[in-house]
Structure formats: structure tokens, C-alpha cells
Amino acid sequence: MTQNLYKNLNVAARNTLLALFAGGLALLSYAANESASNKPLVLTGIAKVAPDKGAISGELMAHSCAGCHGTLGRLGDESFVPLAGMPVGQFVSSMVAFRDGKRPATLMGHVAQGFSDAEIRAMGEFFAAVKTEGNQP
């Protein structure tokens, strides 16, 4: 989303993200096209920009994890798992197992219930692309 965050992404992961975002953006552009044909484009404040239902953003959702798992998923020596740099497959399988009760948890099962498969994957893609330098094991 921003140049600053962009600097924090691995090159390989960035390329994956680029490809993944292409799909997402096509959808987004479609939404913009829809609204362009139906509504006047008056942009004076957020309320008017925000559509009735926005697209999901892995990044926006991922920041809600940071209250425990650290900003951008980066953590030092703490009781929570750092999420920065976690491979997408590991993030997705963990969250799905939490959500479906297949992996014992204290509270992650409850949190995971709040997310769809697509939302979990989108968050996983965000964290996978964050460089792990900030993790201090």
C-alpha cells in the first residue's frame, strides 16, 4: 500500500504479491467501473468514497493481529508467534485448523472464527511478504 511498507517486503514475496494483486485489482477496477456508470463521481469525503461494501484487504485485516503479534507481525522474545515472513501455507493451515477446532488453542480458535478462507489467505499473503529482520529471537 505504501512505499514504506513496500521496502519491508522480500523481493520474491513481492513478485508473488504483484501477481496476486493483479487479480484483486482487476476486481477493484471492475467495482470502480460499476460505480462510474451508476453514480456521479463526487469525492468530497470518505463517506462518499466508501462503497456500500468495500473489497477485502489482507493488509488492513493483518494489522488487527499486531496488538499481540507485533507491528507488521514482527516480535522479539515474546509468548506470541511472530507472523512476519511466515510462509502463506503455514499461516493458512494454522488459521484454518484454529478455526475448525482441529488445533487446540486458548483464544486463537475464537479469533480465527471471524475470518473466511479468502480473508485468511489475504492476511497470509501480507505477512509472508514482510521481511523478518524485525524479529529478534
Binding site: M1, Y6, L25, V49, G67, H110
Partner: protein
């Protein structure tokens, strides 16, 4: 800027734009030149600090200014641990230095006295006039000391502390509790809904019960409550049942006994809970006689801790952001005030439906707002908002519990989307309960970092 947004949207909507857009993510494209917008944030608590940090994290070119009264933030979360000597007052102090040096956030230490929402300027007691493009207000709470006869801020500062906004009253309460005579009575008056930190008025007496068992084993702890239930009630009282020989009210025993063994203890527990339906609502405080009068009785106490009813912080009143309820109505997606233009209200002061008034909520609201503002300033559509809250709480220093929720906008209101479970399982293993306590301690650190560093 509007013209720029417009042309960018038209470009996106064109078929050529579709192709071009598909080749690069929005954040990898040359950013639209919007000029460094100035975002002013009033209030440097959890909501304001997090908003400032994430705005600069997302876009270092933005100009972000926080206007805050105090040079040091005293964190309320975890502040009850000063009372049981687990933390010191100094442990509650949080510096703004990291936000200034690591993120380039400007700080103005001053008191806001008013604003002009049309000219977009804020006035301060120090006669400063600060212009903004967007204003975020995170006013926190104020305590309505006068809600109870005989109670006032002056009484709270000198004899019957509240400490729900931490500071000198916290230190006074700690001295009173730790110095209480052997066999003395500690009464805590819990607040009516809605209030900051839902499990907090129950964690505090639980921690003191644990402390008294060691240092003052004949002491009594009485919670008087205008409510009949509270967030985390089942798991909190199950902890008291196990740790402090507390007998749960019959209706709770009936609700819970199929899921978990509840002990019936002979004799009385050190801790008791007087509910609203049993006359637990506070009416009057007599600081000279050290009595608290509820609907049911007059209790002679040695230490009284009143957590009074609350409303949005004074700042919200000064700026005309609160309605008759005492809280600030906002658009549920953008947290834009519905009473004043170009102002966003986050944190405990805003009306956020199912989201509790907690630090975690304020932090989550701040990030979503920061993201939404950045997208708006860049002329991109805002994504669907999603927020989280986790309130960790302790029934004892090694007994952790929580409420954990995920929220989205549902039919115009903020609602929970994790509909199956939100509390520690009643049949949680001892190891999980202990782990919950370790998570609570870790969270105090990681959360403070996420907000302030």
C-alpha cells in the same frame, strides 16, 4: 485534489486503465501527488498514538501532529497490578519519544480549547492555532464523580480513590489497600454499562483477594454492582471458585455445571459480589465515616474504591462531538463524526456498538481509520473495515482469561462475526489457564509497543 482523484478514477474505469492497473498493485505505482496532507490528532492515548504511528508507517510523507495535555502517558491497562505490588507506578509510564524519533510524529503539549470545523483549525490554551486537513479526536473517558451523593473528584483525590484513569489516585489506592488493617473490608463499586475495560472492575478485586490471602488473610473484599452480569463473568467467577473458595450465584451454577465442575465451598469466601438485583447499586459515599450506601445496605469499609459512571472525555464535549448519551456518534465505516464535519472520533469515546471500550478496540479502530484515510487521500476506494478486540484479564496472577472478538459492519452497525465462542473455554486445561496469564503479561508489552513504539 478532488480533481486529481476524479481523473484517476476515470482513468481506472477506462479499459486501458484496467490493463495498466492489472500490471502493478496500487501501492507500487507512482503515488498520486496529493501533497503532504496534515493530519492532526487530539489525544495521545492508545487511539491517538496508534493512529499517529500507523499514518506515518503507511505514508512517511504525511504530516502528523498529536496535541496532548501530558508529556508522559500513564497506561490504564494493567494499572490494577500496581495495587497488588506486581507493578510499580513507574511501570505505567509510557514515553512519546519513539513516536517522535522513529516515526517523525510532531507533538504539541497543550490543551485544546476549541476548533473551527469549516476553516479546519484547532485552538489551544497556549494560544496556538493549528490547521489541519483531517482531524482525528481520541478523547477517552471522563469519570462522573458527581453521580453518587457524597462523591466528588476532590473526595476521590483525597479519601475514596477511583483510579480508573490512572495516576495519583492509583498510588493512593495502592497505599490504602496495602496498609489496610488486618481483617479490614475493601469495597469496590463497579460501574454501570457502558464503561472502559469491561473485565477490569472484577480483575482488580480478584488480584487484591489473592494479595490479601497472603498479607491480610482475614480481610474481606466486597464488589457492589448495579449490574447482574458482566463480560467474562463465568470464567472470572470460575477462577474465584477455584482460587478463593467463592460460591457462584445459583443461576450461574445452573448455567455452567453441565460444562464444568463447580465446587460448593463450606463457609464464606473472602470475595463476594452483590448484584444489581440484590441491591448492589451504589447510592452514596460517606468519606468521613468510610461507608458506602447501596440500595440494599450501608457497608462500613476500611478502603472504598469507586469506579463511577463514565462518559466521553471533556474534549468531546468541548468540540461538540458527543450527543445526549454522553458518547460520540460516528459513521461506522469511517468513524467520521455525525455531528461535526471532517472529524473522526475513535476509542472509548465513540459509539461503536458491539465493540467494547477497551485499549485493544481503540488501537484497532485507529489502524483501520489510518488505512482508510490514506486510501481516501490517494483517491482509492476504502477496503471493507474489520476490527478486533481481545481483553485479557486475570482471576489471579497465574490465572488468565479473556474475551476475544472480530467485528465487521453488519446492517449498518458494528457486529461480532465470531459467533460461536468468545471466552476462555469453561473446560480449559490448567496449562491453558496459566498460558492465558502469560499471554496477558506479554500483551502488556507487545500492545504498548504496537501503540507507542
Amino acid at each position: 485534489m478532488n480533481a486529481l482523484n476524479l481523473s484517476r478514477r476515470q482513468w481506472l474505469a477506462s479499459s486501458a486503465g484496467l490493463l495498466a492497473a492489472a500490471s502493478l498493485p496500487a501501492w507500487a505505482q507512482t503515488p498520486a501527488k496529493v501533497g503532504p496532507a496534515h493530519i492532526v490528532i487530539i489525544g495521545g492515548g492508545v487511539g491517538g498514538a496508534t493512529a499517529a504511528k500507523y499514518l506515518k508507517l503507511f505514508d512517511p510523507t504525511l504530516k502528523v501532529t498529536v496535541i496532548e495535555k501530558n508529556r508522559i502517558y500513564i497506561r490504564p491497562y494493567g494499572s490494577s497490578e500496581v495495587l497488588n505490588q506486581h507493578s510499580s507506578m513507574d511501570d505505567l509510564n509510557v514515553s512519546y519519544d519513539a513516536l517522535r524519533s522513529n516515526y517523525g510524529v510532531n507533538f504539541v503539549f497543550d490543551t485544546v480549547t476549541g476548533f473551527d470545523p469549516i476553516a479546519r483549525t484547532v485552538q489551544t490554551a497556549g494560544k496556538q492555532k493549528i490547521s489541519y486537513d483531517r482531524l482525528i479526536v481520541s478523547p477517552g473517558i471522563q469519570l462522573m464523580y458527581s453521580a453518587y451523593a457524597g462523591y466528588s473528584e476532590q473526595v476521590a483525590n483525597t479519601a475514596v480513590p477511583s483510579g480508573w484513569i490512572p495516576g495519583a489516585q492509583t498510588a493512593l489506592l495502592a497505599r490504602q489497600l496495602q496498609g489496610m488493617r488486618q481483617g479490614g473490608t475493601f469495597v469496590l463499586a463497579a460501574p454501570p454499562n457502558p464503561y472502559r475495560c469491561p473485565p477490569g472492575p472484577y480483575e482488580r478485586p480478584a488480584l487484591m483477594t489473592e494479595w490479601f490471602m497472603k498479607h491480610n488473610p482475614t480481610a474481606k473484599v466486597i464488589i457492589v454492582d448495579p449490574k447482574d452480569s458482566f463480560v467474562t463473568d463465568e470464567t472470572m467467577m470460575l477462577g474465584w471458585n477455584r482460587l478463593y473458595n467463592f460460591n457462584l450465584p445459583d443461576d450461574y451454577v445452573k448455567k455452567m455445571r453441565d460444562k464444568v465442575e463447580i465446587k460448593q465451598h463450606a463457609g464464606t469466601s473472602m470475595i463476594s459480589w452483590v448484584r444489581g438485583k440484590d441491591g448492589g447499586r451504589t447510592l452514596r459515599i460517606d468519606a468521613k465515616k468510610m461507608t458506602i450506601e447501596t440500595e440494599a445496605e450501608v457497608i462500613k469499609a476500611d478502603v472504598i474504591n469507586v469506579i463511577p459512571p463514565m462518559k466521553a472525555g471533556q474534549l468531546a464535549m468541548t468540540l461538540g462531538l458527543a450527543d445526549a448519551s454522553g458518547w460520540c456518534p460516528v459513521n461506522r465505516r469511517t468513524f467520521a463524526s455525525t455531528l461535526q464535519p471532517n472529524v473522526h472520533v475513535i476509542g472509548d469515546a465513540c459509539i461503536a456498538d458491539a465493540m467494547p471500550k477497551s485499549g485493544f478496540s481503540a488501537n484497532s479502530q485507529a489502524k483501520v481509520l489510518a488505512y482508510t484515510l490514506i486510501e481516501e487521500l490517494a483517491g482509492r476506494p476504502a477496503p471493507e473495515p474489520l476490527w478486533e478486540n481481545t481483553c485479557y484479564a486475570l482471576a489471579g496472577k497465574d490465572y488468565g482469561l479473556f474475551v476475544a472478538d472480530v467485528f465487521k459492519v453488519i446492517d449498518g452497525k458494528i457486529g461480532r462475526v465470531n459467533t460461536r465462542a468468545r471466552y476462555l473455554a469453561l473446560d480449559a486445561m490448567p496449562a491453558q489457564i496459566k498460558l492465558g496469564a502469560r499471554y496477558q503479561q506479554a500483551w502488556l508489552r507487545t500492545f504498548t509497543q504496537d501503540c507507542f513504539a
